[in-house]
């Protein structure tokens, strides 16, 4: 596989042909914030947190799906990008009901970590306070739509790794919801294998283990990548 040399933030770095900017940046110790990206499943470029500036490109490009090109000049941490990333996180906080103080994922939440990393100390937009459901019909897990950021990591991990596709999205825009099977309660889903991979994949406290209380929801999403890698190597 051919190597590619290019520049990120005035630093010369190397990557492999076919690799994304995000992969190359991480390999070289350069941090690019992500939310919908999950190692082990397909990238969809939906959260827009990993947008980077590429010199000569008219538009901002998502690092998770943009492949490296020889000689490209990438900026991942400009004033403009920092501003936009902060707005994205603020929009998420204002969109649903993210109350860290009473959340099972408090202290272990990717949304919260991003907010801290970006320096979001308050939200400048009005909160929408939508009415969202909590589904605890499943014996072991629950889904709290108040915390969901619609990253679709659960949808992808269920489809691509577990091979079940219990999760999907219904509705559109602000009314979009992750659903189980044909939008029946999770506990009545006939396809769910209760494997818990969605729980590992969820970046927030939306999908939780029943019985967990505030701050107890620790997960290790790298297990997903481990499962995928283990399987790939056996085959």
């Amino acid at each position: 596989m051919a190597a590619r040399t290019f520049t990120i933030n005035d630093q010369l770095v190397s990557g492999r042909e076919g690799e994304t900017i995000l992969e190359a940046a991480r390999e070289n110790g350069i941090y690019i914030p992500t939310l919908c990206h999950l190692d082990g499943v397909t990238s969809v470029g939906a959260c827009r947190m990993c947008l980077v500036e590429i010199e000569g490109s008219r538009t901002l490009r998502p690092a998770c799906v943009t492949q490296v090109v020889e000689g490209m000049v990438v900026h991942t941490d400009t004033e403009r990008l920092r501003n936009y990333r902060r707005i994205i996180i603020e929009l998420l906080f204002a969109e649903r009901n993210h109350i860290c103080a009473v959340c099972v994922a408090n202290g272990h939440c990717e949304l919260q970590n991003l907010a801290i990393a970006i320096g979001m100390d308050h939200v400048r937009f009005d909160y929408a306070f939508p009415v969202c459901e909590v589904d605890i019909s499943h014996g072991r897990f629950g889904i709290d739509h108040n915390r969901c950021v619609l990253c679709t990591r659960c949808v992808r991990v269920c489809d691509e790794v577990e091979g079940v596709h219990t999760w999907d999205i219904a509705g559109r825009g602000a009314d979009a919801r992750v659903i189980t099977d044909m939008r029946q309660p999770w506990g009545e889903s006939t396809s769910c294998t209760s494997c818990g991979k969605c729980l590992l994949a969820c970046p927030t406290g939306a999908i939780f283990r029943r019985g967990a209380t505030v701050s107890e929801m620790e997960r290790d999403p790298t297990k997903i990548a481990f499962i995928v890698a283990a399987r790939d190597q056996r085959w």
Partner: protein
């Protein structure tokens, strides 16, 4: 099927015509005003007078939709407007010197004489439900010519030299797109016609399909030959039942005559067309969402690259063009690239169809050469605002912007319209008068975008909802100058960070009204507002 048979059908069709033809519009606009019962009464009246030289035919859109149902009598070219079924006997009697009770229209009005019809050349003249009527007008001869006398490279060369650009709104050079698909490798290639027209106030594509469906099919077949595809899809929205019905009929007729299907014109070229009906999502007009929908998946966009030309339907190279783009193909082949390139401006060639709606005297469909000014279109052809003045013209639907009356002399071509902060778009043109509040206009379009956002990317999903809320606060008189500044910030952010064209252009109606009508926003600001009391 060979050329002589095609010509035979055309000659037979022309020979069987009667000398007096009463053309009754049966496009959706006139149908909803009662054109079907009118056509039936006209037929009855023609039978009653027992004259063998009269025939009544149903045709497609004649353009002046606001004055429908329309009836045109050939060869004298008498136009009747607002015709009721009860007027039918008098229209037939008028042929023998009687007086028609329906109001007379003026075919010499600039609305008609200012047009240059290429896409709409057969619209309102031929019977869209009969392939013979299209063949009699020279139809499918361009396809025959292409298959027997041109190589795919020749076809692409002609389209490239013609200067044709995509009529869906973005104006991408059509020849370049075709050449890219032709050069891409795949097991199979596809040709897709995007008929998911969803902009509020736009009905060009619907009308083209309802009035001249074979022209679109012929354009698609020529495109398929040029890029090496054997399967086509027309993606048309379910809200266009008549267009779907006529397209189905047209495909069946074309198959029966062998101008679609296997071994077309015995030239070793196979092309099949199927219809895919959309399920009501505006975002499915975006090409990657459209392809996902055709494949049977949730209709939402994905990041590009890869572009459809390289990896489209089922990962194969796919050509996607708009209805109007395909409708331009056969005329370009018939008359040549130079002829087409001689019409329009330096960078925008040919004509463009516009749907004129809103506060305007003559509502309907017009086709003008690129470079015609907004003033010509709105004031001369459209007759201006009844009892008032034009305040602004909204072009390009929810992705476009409002052009103020002071800029009415802007020529309508891709670059000029963009320079004044709007877009050419697919061709919707909504005229607004002094009574229109521009913040309400921005609110209307933002509500549309918020409802139609698919929800995949955060800037569009949460951003449109937030922008709409901020417009609500402004309209309620509870916004501060800082809020207005924040709205602008958010607009820029959504524009630059959204995944697809819907989100990237959603802030345009706000940005363009802010640019030209900022005072209307500022008049609503409250400098002492206590924002803590504003309920979301």
């Amino acid at each position: 099927m060979d050329l002589s048979e095609l010509i035979e059908i055309a000659e037979h069709e022309r020979a069987s015509r009667r000398s007096i033809r009463i053309r009754c519009c049966t496009a959706l606009g006139c149908q909803s005003a009662g054109a079907l019962s009118l056509k039936q009464r006209l037929e009855e009246a023609a039978t009653e007078v027992e004259r063998q030289d009269i025939e009544v035919i149903g045709v497609g859109c004649m353009g002046l939709c606001g004055n429908g149902p329309l009836v045109m009598v050939d060869p004298d070219g008498v136009l009747y407007e607002h015709v009721r079924a009860a007027d039918a006997p008098s229209i037939v009697a008028a042929l023998d010197g009687g007086e028609a009770t329906a109001p007379l229209g003026d075919p010499q009005h600039p609305f008609f004489t200012g047009q240059k019809r290429i896409v709409l050349e057969h619209s309102g003249i031929i019977d869209p439900e009969r392939i013979e009527s299209y063949i009699a007008a020279g139809g499918y001869q361009a396809l025959y010519h292409v298959l027997h006398e041109m190589t795919p490279a020749d076809v692409i060369d002609v389209i490239t030299r013609s200067g044709l650009r995509g009529r869906g709104g973005a104006g991408y050079p059509t020849g370049l797109k075709w050449a890219t698909v032709a050069k891409s490798h795949g097991n199979r290639k596809f040709v897709v016609c995007n008929a998911d027209e969803g902009d509020p106030g736009a009905f060009m594509d619907r009308s083209i399909i309802e009035s001249d469906p074979h022209k679109v099919l012929e354009g698609m077949a020529i495109a398929a030959y040029a890029v090496g595809a054997d399967q086509g899809y027309v993606y048309v929205r379910a809200e266009y039942p008549l267009a779907i019905q006529r397209l189905q009929k047209a495909i069946a007729q074309a198959r029966r005559l062998g101008v679609l299907g296997a071994q077309i014109f015995d030239a070793g070229f196979t092309f099949r067309v199927d219809i895919r009906v959309g399920a009501g999502a505006f975002v499915c007009g975006e090409e990657t969402a459209l392809m996902a929908s055709i494949e049977g998946r949730r209709g939402q966009p994905r990041p590009r690259p890869p572009y459809p030309a390289e990896s489209g339907l089922w990962g194969q190279p796919t050509l996607i063009n708009n209805v109007e783009t395909y409708a331009n193909i056969a005329p370009i082949i018939r008359h040549g690239a130079e002829w087409f390139a001689s019409i329009g401006t330096e960078t925008s060639k040919g004509t463009k169809v516009f749907a004129l709606t809103g506060k305007i005297r003559h509502t309907g469909l017009i086709e003008v050469p690129m470079g015609a000014t907004l003033r010509q279109i709105v004031e001369e052809m459209g007759g201006g605002v009844p009892d008032g003045h034009v305040k602004a013209v909204q072009t390009g639907g929810p992705s476009g912007g409002c052009i103020p009356a002071t800029l009415l002399d802007t020529p309508v071509d891709y670059e000029s319209v963009q320079r004044v902060g709007s877009i050419m778009g697919s061709g919707g043109m909504v005229v607004m008068d002094d009574a229109t509040h521009m913040v309400d206009v921005a609110h209307f379009y933002m509500e549309f975008c918020k409802d139609e956002s698919c929800g995949k990317c955060i800037p569009c999903r949460a951003g449109t909802a937030q922008m709409l809320h901020m417009l609500d606060v402004i309209r309620a008189g509870q916004a501060t100058p800082a809020d207005l500044e924040q709205l602008e910030q958010l607009c820029l952010m959504v524009k630059e960070t959204s995944l697809c064209g819907l989100g990237q252009s959603a802030p345009n109606p706000v940005l363009s009204t802010l640019k030209y009508f900022r005072a209307e926003y500022e008049a609503l600001l409250n400098h002492n507002a206590d924002r803590a009391t504003t309920e979301p």
